[in-house]
């Protein structure tokens, strides 16, 4: 079978699998968050923690709960990392240094999973499980909870209540993430991923070299790492490691897992607002952007779009690519991990061709809304849908309404704040890094490639993606601190604006659709939404993209 056919079959199989799960999983997500009854285990948790599950929260109380929970999470993970050597299951690992411990604690609490360390050489089992893996569940559930609260802004009227944060997070973990993670773990183990608590082994190879064989509950972390769009791998090389991702089957299954919940959430949205076609419209826009990105990166990484004699003879740009998966497996993974906020990798993004890497950067710059991170993609695309409705209203004089709610100046101010936060954080931090000697000393590749690496690093952290373009000394204290601040602002500031917007929508009375209302369930709206997304991002990041990957590619 030739490479191109294999690539197509891989993509079509993945698309079919995701399409098959769209309705049942989306319906299940909607049911989880509209169910009036609490499960027994949930009631036990509420009783133990003193939570009143029937209390309804104002949007600002909802935000305060998120901030309080996340602050405690950061400090808790930091404490575990800094004391792991004295705790059990340390497998001999020393305490993590303060800057790496802080950056990592922030990274996993914000669902970023940016890693400045080699997991298998830095973290003991207790840190990996009680610190990092717990946050992989919790941070994903927090993102989903915000999306659900945002949807309630459309479904509720004349109220300032958006639900209960603690109930939403508990249900997200108990009813969705844990069951899926268990299934995912079993499939990965069946596929050959390791799952044990063995100590590390040093062996002597046939040629007389020494090698350390690591162990660990890898499959279970891999499962939630992808389902929760986390991305933090057990191993230094992430999903390129054969113990974590042994073969092409596990590779496609991992890609399936990282796209599963984000692509199903629009169905939950449609179900909760009582109009499934609204969900279809949003998921159609997501699929168009994802499919175009896959096609683009595959073209540039395969022999079709690769310049140079070596790559042409090798039938693809193989440098930095795991040969078990090839350029097609790498391209599909690279796009899927950057359009979601996962950041897991099975090949080296720094080795992508300039235009291929540029598309990966563009995917992240889009704000990860196609389909985006768990929950984050949903509330991101809802904000952009409102911007689209507003722009359409300006162009043709239609009333800006979306799902029965008026898009007034107040809502647009929230949407503008939401949209502007990330570019301001990313470009400011990148400018500081480029303009100071602390940042310049970390640049290993000067020129356009170095610029791409810096912009990619801050875009990845602000959007809570976590993948690295690499080639940048981000282990330096300057990058640890600025990166941590970027992750915190990039995660929570947009959530504040999104929930403020949801609160504003919830206070409104429902507005019945009229002849002047733009139908947001049509292909026309889908096309407009895709256009608004691309134009907004293009205008915002075009200078950086032109001076970085485009300049390098055209050189």
């Amino acid at each position: 079978m030739n490479d191109t056919l294999a690539g197509w079959l891989q993509f079509l199989f993945l698309f079919a699998a995701l399409a098959a799960c769209y309705v049942p999983l989306g319906n299940w997500i909607a049911r989880i968050f509209t169910d009036k009854n609490h499960w027994r285990v949930e009631r036990g948790i509420y009783k133990l923690t003193g939570i009143d599950p029937d209390a309804d929260m104002r949007w600002s109380v909802y935000v305060r709960s998120i901030l309080a929970f996340s602050l405690v999470s950061v400090l808790f993970v930091y404490l575990i990392e800094r004391t792991q050597h004295w705790l059990f299951w340390a497998i001999g690992m020393a305490n993590v240094t303060p800057d790496t411990a802080w950056n990592t604690a922030v990274s996993f609490t914000t669902n970023t999973n940016w890693q400045n360390y080699a997991g298998e050489a830095t973290m003991g089992y207790l840190t990996q499980i009680a610190g990092l893996m717990v946050q992989q569940f919790m941070s994903a559930a927090v993102g989903l909870a915000v999306a659900i609260a945002m949807i309630r802004g459309f479904t509720r009227s004349r109220t300032d209540r958006l639900g209960n944060f603690w109930v939403d997070v508990t249900r997200g973990v108990i009813r969705l993430l844990i069951p899926l993670a268990v299934i995912g773990c079993l499939v990965l183990v069946a596929g050959g991923a390791i799952e044990n608590f063995a100590n590390y082994h040093a062996i002597t190879t046939l040629s007389g070299a020494h090698q350390t064989i690591v162990g660990g509950p890898v499959a279970s972390q891999e499962s939630i790492k992808d389902l929760g769009n986390n991305g933090g791998g057990w191993f230094n090389v992430n999903a390129a490691h054969p113990f974590e991702n042994p073969n092409p089957f596990t590779n496609i299954f991992i890609i399936f897992m990282l796209l599963l919940i984000p692509f199903s959430t629009p169905r939950a949205f449609g179900k909760m607002v009582g109009d499934n076609r609204q969900g279809y419209a949003l998921v159609a826009a997501m699929v168009i952007i994802w499919a175009c990105a896959v096609g683009g990166v595959t073209f540039f990484e395969s022999h079709l779009g690769t310049a140079g004699v070596g790559p042409q003879l090798a039938h693809g740009a193989y440098e930095g690519v795991e040969t078990r998966f090839g350029p097609h497996g790498c391209s599909l993974f690279a796009v899927s991990t950057t359009v979601t906020s996962t950041g897991s990798v099975d090949c080296f993004h720094d080795s992508l061709t300039p235009f291929g890497g540029g598309i990966a950067l563009m995917d992240i710059a889009l704000g990860e809304i196609a389909p985006g991170g768990i929950g984050a993609g949903m509330y991101g695309i809802l904000v952009l849908a409102m911007v689209t409705v507003f722009v359409a209203g300006l162009m043709v004089g239609r009333t800006p309404e979306y799902i029965g709610k008026k898009i007034r100046p107040t809502e647009m101010k929230y949407a503008a704040l939401y949209f502007l936060t990330l570019p301001v954080v990313i470009l400011t931090m990148a400018a500081i890094a480029i303009g100071t000697h602390w940042g310049q000393s970390g640049i290993l590749n000067p020129g356009p490639h170095g610029l791409t690496e810096i912009v990619y690093a801050y875009a990845s952290q602000a959007n809570n993606n976590g993948s690295a373009f690499a080639g940048l000394g981000t282990g330096a204290t300057f990058f640890q601190i600025t990166g941590g601040i970027t992750m915190l602002l990039g995660r929570f500031a947009p959530e504040i604006f999104a929930l403020g917007l949801a609160g504003s929508l919830a206070r409104q009375a429902p507005t019945p659709a009229t002849a002047g209302t733009l139908d947001t369930r049509t292909p026309l709206f889908v096309g407009m939404l895709v256009g608004v997304i691309l134009i907004l991002v293009g205008l915002t990041y075009f200078p950086a993209l032109a001076l970085g990957p485009f300049a390098e590619g055209l050189h």
Binding site: S60, R64, L67, L71, V74, L75, Y78, H85, W86, I91, G92, M93, A94, N95, V96, T97, P98, D99, T100, W102, V106, Q115, N116, Y117, A118, A121, T122, N199, Y200, H201, A202, I203, T204, T205, L206, G208, T212, I213, N236, F348, D350, G442, A457, A468, A470, G471, L472, G473, T474, G475, A476, I481, G484, L488, L489, F492, A493, I496, G500, S504
Partner: protein, 72 residues
Amino acid sequence: MAGAWVSQGRYQWVGPRPLTRDVRPGSGMPGIALTSGSSLGVTVWDLFYVGLTIVVFAVLLLILKGIESFER
């Protein structure tokens, strides 16, 4: 798994000894260990990072309060 390797060479059980390899490309610091050893005590850096965390969350809380006052 260990058995298969033993027959090919000398088997060695690794005790509690941390690895100090860091070849993650993103770090840009190949060969430099990022683990700190096991020195006891709270360092100035610990206080700095705890303080920095609190400051960033306080800024986020201020943003929230600003929006609340804007709403009123």
